[in-house]
Amino acid sequence: MNTASQTLELRNVSKRYANGTLANDGVNLSVVRGEIHAIVGENGAGKSTVMKMLYGLEQPSSGEIVLDGRPVAFRHPRDAIAAGIGLVPQHIELVPSFTVADNVVLGSEPRRGPWLDRTRAADEVRATAERFGLDVDPSASVRDLSIGEQQRVGILKALHRGARILLLDEPSAVLPPQQVQALFAALRQMAAAGLTVVLITHKLAEVREVSDRFTVLRGGRVTGCLASRGASESQITEMIVGRSVAPLRVQRVQARSALPLVSARRLSVLRDDGRMPLQSVSFDIAAGEILGIAGVEGNGQAPLAEVLAGLETPAQGDVRLGEQLVSGQGPRAVRAAGIASIPEDRLHDGVALGMSVADNAMANRYHRPPLSRFGWLFARKAHDEAQHMLKEHGVVARSADAPIGSLSGGNMQKVVLAREIAAEPRLLVASQPTRGVDIGAAQVLRQRLVALRDQGAAVLLVSSDLDELLELSDRIAVLFQGRIVAHFAAGTVGARELGLYMTGLREQAGAAATLDAPFTPHSEEVSA
């Protein structure tokens, strides 16, 4: 084959959707066999469209897709699968009660007569896993697996169907830091074994860490294609956003001597099955201070945020805002007391997707003047307020009447934050405020959080993005298995040390994040 090295190419591909959006404009992309190729860009840059076309979910309006030197037309994902392309979606759907092997062979089961040949299934899966260095036990039940392991099952599934080219859609977004490393190691081993990996991401560090080459998209066009080795972070950033983003310089606040505005004491949450996802957690936040909560997801962050938002009643302990008891009072009372919250799952809890921007923007204030009186809504007022919000927060939306579902993730989140700020909260609980948000919008959101702090509000920031936590927090507490295991002042700790506490390798007995609690001592081996 004369063009053997060019495994997959897009030649001058454009895609215009039925609604007129030009998602890709003359995109040229070439992926070489055996490489890891990253496609980078902000939300809405056209990355997903490229991936959809490669997987047969969308067809190019013009231009062609070339596979191993031959033009191909994928009308349907099964065409792409037949041609050796496999997609690993960001959120993998598996059957929890099935074993890994059962899940992998689901849809292409080896049979013996009419029966599923389970032995052969397990053998096949084990062989594939070994060949590509994916560490998974084929006989394990999927419900017992971590998200990282589930992701490997997703990859195995694509490989089992004969994929030679793997498409991964933001695979690291759902993983804790340690598992990201394992994933990258696996990807490198697969590339070494001759597979081709196409990776969509918007994290710069990943581009440089795992990919051989990368292609940057901005506004549907390719703005560059470079070898990852040697490309500097600021260079990539500039290609992504068209300008370089100055790192946010945040003035730290020293609140040790201040009076706490929020104080939580010995908070515990008890589930019906006897588990305690939150155990005796104590912390304070002063007015004008950001307390960051670090931790691998699922270690008590969600119940903590829910208790503070009034969605969950603690089994023990209480939360006070000033002098007022706010735990266990229900969301409306909690909000009336001055607590606002940005929920972790934006699409499920943060917005009503089918409703308009205006309807979403007033959801926490509609029941009192000036938006309503005696049960009558002032629709015009609500609309004007929403329109004003869009302008002030730089939200890109057709109008306040547009359904919020038509906005990009970043713009949606700006509406959520604008709504919560509009209630003039004394405490803002921000869970994963910039998750799935592009770099530019994330920067704006972070600036808003800091501005809110500087106006005197207390902020509890729960984030799995360690860089964000280290950048914004005045103090950081680490949650592990529902308990606070460490407490640091801003600027005295790095991601590596936090990681030790997040994974349970180290813990400070009886740690608390109250204003008078001692900080966790640093260990020499880490700082060395």
Binding site: Y17, A18, S48, K52, L57, E58, P89, Q90, H91, E93, I147, D169, V174, D272, D273, P277, E297, G298, A302, P303, A309, G310, L311, G330, P331, R332, V334, R335, A336, S341, P343, D345, R346, L347, H348, D349, G350, V351, A352, L353, G354, M355, S356, A358, D359, A363, N364, Y366, S372, G375, W376, L377, A379, R380, A382, H383, D401, P403, G405, G436
Partner: protein, 377 residues
């Protein structure tokens, strides 16, 4: 203006309803061709049978005939509009309350009882009618509170409770009429005829089309304003669209659930008054239950959008009258028309199955929708 968003979520297309009806009529015609010797005539009867017949002859001048049939279309459309609204309001809060039947029966009973009592004391229409309406509305609202409360307090499935409450309401209605309101001179089990002061003024001679017709636009407008311009309506829409979100922002979700079912009862009450004080003018014990399920179909056709409900109700009533005409004047049975009605509903309701609206982008959205495993409870 705040966009009415349940409809935007369903992404209705303007051509969709006409297209669905056209497709259903086409399929229906296909069926007619199979079963009838004279399909064209039968088909014409279905489509125009409900219309009044306007003729001109030298001998008699302009003449309008078959007005009774057209009158019955309007009568039925009015009842169905109210029942459609009664179903649509709880549906907007995603409560599948089917209690409109029971609400209508008890409201009609309340209206008739008040009419008989006050009319018997010699009060005029300006006292009797408002009192009858008030009694009916109160009854419908209260009867709606029951399943709402059962749902909010005990998590009882509203489909089950409303169906059971319908049975209770109908038997209660029969008991009251047989035991306490029976007119011994009637020759069958029924209430006495309501006094003239309690009757809504008639608009079309030889029909029961009454002044209720003028009330319809206001009631529909009221339902629309309730949903778009009141805090309760906003809560109903939000709870229906995104219950988790509603809870998160502090909305009284349980109260909204209860209110949505009770508020639906108000509209069922209008249907009740229409039956007792305009159509029948007395309440027979064997009043047929099940009208509310036609209201359900109307609400579905209108996609729970108040403004569209009168149109959907008229279409439904029109087709039904046409069906009777078809049955009488041709060799096609009424069942065929029921089949065609079912087709229309099927075509409209299964809009998402139409190939034109299926898009890979949607599928991918679905694939990528964040369903990160939440911490198990």
């Amino acid at each position: 203006m705040i966009q009415d968003t349940a409809s935007s979520a369903a992404a209705p297309r303007p051509w969709q309803l006409p297209a669905a009806i056209a497709a259903a009529l086409l399929v229906g015609f296909g069926i007619t061709v199979l079963v009838s010797a004279e399909p064209w005539r039968a088909w014409l009867a279905l489509l125009t049978g409900a219309l009044p017949d306007i003729r001109f002859s030298d001998a008699e001048g302009w003449q309008v005939r078959r007005l009774v049939r057209f009158g019955s279309v309007i009568e039925e459309a009015i009842t169905l509009t109210f029942l459609g609204l009664a179903i649509a309001i709880p549906f907007r809060a995603r409560q599948f309350s089917l209690g409109a039947d029971g609400q209508m029966f008890l409201s009609a009973l309340a209206a008739a009882a008040v009419s008989l009592a006050l009319g018997g004391m010699g009060y005029g229409a300006f006292a009797v009618l408002p009192a009858a309406f008030a009694a009916a509305v109160l009854t419908g609202f209260t009867w709606g509170l029951v399943p709402g409360w059962l749902k909010a307090r005990y998590g009882a499935n509203e489909i089950v409770t409303t169906l059971m409450l319908n049975l209770i309401a109908v038997q209660l209605y029969r008991l009251v009429i047989t035991q306490w309101m029976n007119d011994p001179n009637a020759g069958f089990l029924t209430t006495p005829v309501l006094p003239a002061a309690a009757l809504l003024p008639n608009l079309l001679p030889r029909t029961n089309v009454s002044a209720m017709l003028f009330l319809v636009p206001f009631v529909v407008l009221g339902a629309g304003l309730l949903l778009t311009r009141t805090t309760v309506g906003y809560e109903i829409r939000t709870v229906g669209q995104a219950p988790a979100f509603a809870r998160q922002v502090g909305m009284p979700v349980k109260r909204t659930v209860v209110l949505s079912m009770a508020l639906g009862g108000i509209f069922a009450a209008f249907a009740g008054v229409h039956v007792s004080n305009a159509l029948l003018k007395r309440l027979p014990v064997d009043l047929t239950p099940g009208m509310a399920f036609e209201g359900l179909v109307v609400a579905l056709l209108a996609r729970n959008e108040p403004r569209a409900i009168p149109m959907a109700a008229f279409l439904y009533a029109y087709l039904r009258a046409g069906a009777q005409a078809m049955e009488r004047t041709s060799d096609v049975s009424r069942e065929v028309v029921l089949v065609i009605q079912a087709f229309i509903i099927l075509f409209v309701v299964s809009e998402r199955l139409l190939p034109a609206t299926w898009s890979p982008a949607r599928l991918l959205q679905w694939v990528r929708a964040p369903r990160a495993p939440k911490e198990a409870r």
